[in-house]
């Protein structure tokens, strides 16, 4: 118990957990780069990974000395690349959004679909499709992102408002309000689908199950900006999120402006998930699973959990999208079907292991 003993216990440079976390993040980044290159090559027209790299390098103006067929480059640059970039952006955003909501609600079972963000955004986006862009179709991708963001924000604010008692947000009420909001969003979606004509119906069904197929350069740029802003707003909240693990009152005693943190986090999550949902539909479970696996690997510090969840979320979406594209080729499965088929069993396992941890 002397000071000398104490000095031995903590040296960040030699802290095995911090070294392990850095290794994990580096490993994930490498795995993600490799997965993205393989994903770019996979599909109806196979392109070898090395060739993918060559095409990318040449597109950046670096001459690799090989001849690239124009149709190959075109397929890669104008079809697959925007799709993979959207997968990366959506995955990272869902991972960070999930980790943020779990931190905010101090509950490892929280997820963007839980507080109505994704469903509210879906209602907004579906309404946009059914009503033909409210006569604002000229706004293109920005319009649908805005509508989805507003839908997500309305749903989440409604949930937060109901859960707010005496100036503080009660988590149990919030989870129940989220369920009610999900039901309400479901009813609205059902009504909109009822209104839709056959043509809209086809794109709606596919969209509701989730798909990255709609990615083009003109749609992913506005969506990526919105998702980037969302992640940039959430990243500085890592330490406040850590403090929130102690409880809201305790975080306040540590100097965290709790209500402000909540407002920023919920707004940022609505923006990011709204933008993602607008383009891809509802993709479930990634926001739940990614932070959970990351915490199992390297602990709960959000300076690790946020970047880790971003990388793993992106890896999961890229992987799921590649599966969706190749499993039943030349047809394509909706990605939401893949993530839910893999995520739901994980969720069951999570619930069971939590149950046994409580004894």
């Amino acid at each position: 118990m002397t000071v000398a003993d104490a000095a031995q216990t903590y040296d960040p440079a030699r802290d095995p957990l911090i070294i392990w976390r850095r290794a994990t993040l580096s490993g994930l980044a490498v795995a993600l780069a490799v997965a993205a290159i393989f994903a770019l090559g996979a599909g109806a027209m196979e392109i070898a990974p090395l060739r993918v790299v060559e095409i990318l390098l040449q597109a950046m103006g670096i001459d690799t000395g090989t001849v690239i067929e124009p149709y190959e480059a075109a397929a890669l640059m104008s079809v697959r690349l925007p799709r993979i970039l959207l997968a990366l952006a959506c995955g990272a955003t869902l991972g960070v959004a999930g980790a943020s909501l779990q931190a905010l609600f101090r509950n490892p079972l929280a997820d963007p679909t839980l507080v109505g963000v994704a469903d509210g955004a879906a209602v907004g986006a579906v309404a946009w499709i059914v009503f033909g862009g409210f006569g604002l179709a000229a706004f293109g991708a920005w319009g649908i992102i805005l509508v989805a963001f507003v839908g997500g924000l309305i749903a989440t604010s409604g949930v937060m408002l109901i859960a707010r008692g005496e100036g503080r947000i009660d988590i149990a009420t919030l989870l129940l309000a989220g369920l009610a909001m999900k039901a309400l969003a479901g009813a609205l979606l059902g009504y909109l689908i009822f209104l839709a004509n056959d043509l809209q119906m086809r794109s709606l069904t596919f969209w509701l199950l989730g798909s990255l197929g709609g990615a083009t350069w003109s749609t992913i740029i506005p969506a990526s900006i919105a998702m980037g802003v969302s992640v940039l707003l959430l990243a500085p909240l890592a330490r406040p999120f850590d403090a929130l693990a102690l409880g809201e009152a305790e975080a306040g005693h540590l100097g965290v402006r709790v209500e402000r943190t909540k407002r920023i986090a919920v707004g940022a999550v609505a923006l990011g998930v709204g933008a993602g949902t607008a383009l891809t539909g509802v993709i479930g479970f990634v926001g739940l699973v990614a932070p959970h696996i990351i915490r199992l690997i390297g602990g709960a510090d959000h300076r690790f959990v946020l970047p880790g969840s971003a990388l793993l979320g992106a890896l999961l979406i890229v992987g799921a999208d590649t599966l969706a594209r190749t499993m039943v080729a030349p047809a394509e499965l909706p990605i939401g079907v893949v993530t839910s088929a893999l995520g739901a069993p994980f969720f069951f396992w999570l619930l069971r292991s939590r149950g046994s941890a409580k004894r």
């Binding site: 216990t9 005496e166 850590d242 409880g247 306040g252 965290v256």
Partner: protein, 274 residues
């Protein structure tokens, strides 16, 4: 100048659970609040920390109204140890203690942070647990970790030298005998060196041994306050707790409560009646 509350009233369900209570912590002193369950001890502490919504009254911290300080400035001047600390995610002990340094971010060097964390862990006797997952510890060990976190928060003197405060809600309730004394001795040392400490205790012998001043809460008000020997009398114990006790003068004061098992008495009566 320290932490002070004037005419504090807190209401819950239309009833005053803290009724017009005023007190000022004395610099250099460990002030102990005692009292029966539901007497308003925790409510008083929560009122002083700004956590409880006041129906009336003013809390001031180092000469300024509590709300005139921003959250960070408050956190630099006062740490709070809750009655039952919780942790939602698997953090290590050293990481939990490090959270106490949150209000100091940008104000201290990494070496200063580490010195505070190491010192606080040693003071709370949790150094040997530093790399353990906090959620795998026993209740008492966990409580000491959070005590270390509170210590780390107010470990270093402030730039303007103003008083630092520790508010401890039942810091010893889940600790073993030796650690009870250790934590209170540490709290008292902190008061002597750096500021003022307010602790809620149930064990009157611990209170008598470590308190510079005792405040007895009863029915949402202060029933008595002063030096342990002046306050803890046979009459007061009878009036506030309804117990029959013997108070043995000395240093420290010793209180022996005569516990009677009512159920056994009743059986004896029945036997006698037969």
């Amino acid at each position: 100048m320290t932490l002070a509350g004037k005419n504090l009233t807190v209401k819950a369900g239309g009833r005053a659970i803290l009724d017009d209570v005023s007190l000022e912590l004395a610099a250099g002193e460990l002030t102990v609040i005692v009292g029966p369950n539901g007497a308003g001890k925790s409510t008083l502490l929560r009122a002083l920390s700004g956590e409880a919504k006041l129906a009336a009254g003013i809390v001031s911290l180092n000469g300024r109204k509590l709300n005139d300080w921003n959250m960070d400035a408050q956190a630099l001047q006062r740490a709070v140890l809750p009655q039952s600390p919780t942790l939602a995610f698997p953090f290590r002990v050293c990481d939990v203690v490090e959270l106490g340094r949150y209000p100091h971010r940008g104000l201290a060097t990494p070496q200063e942070h580490r010195a505070a964390v190491d010192g606080a862990m040693a003071a709370a006797d949790v150094t040997h647990l530093a790399l353990r997952d906090c959620r795998t510890l026993s209740g008492g060990e966990r409580h000491r970790v959070h005590f270390a976190r509170a210590l780390a928060q107010v470990w270093t003197p402030l730039a303007d030298g103003s008083t630092r405060h520790l508010l401890l809600d039942e810091p010893t309730s889940s600790l073993d005998l030796s650690h009870q004394g250790m934590v209170l001795a540490r709290a008292r040392t902190f008061a002597k060196e750096a500021g003022a400490v307010l602790a809620i205790l149930h064990d009157l012998n611990l209170a008598a041994a470590f308190a510079d001043r005792i405040i007895v809460m009863h029915k949402a008000r202060i029933a008595a306050e002063g030096k342990p020997a002046d306050v803890l009398t046979v009459d007061l114990l009878q009036k506030v707790w309804g117990v029959e006790a013997k108070v043995i003068a000395g240093e420290p004061l010793t209180i022996v409560v005569k516990h009677t098992d009512v159920s056994r008495e009743r059986t004896n009566h029945l036997r006698a009646a037969e």
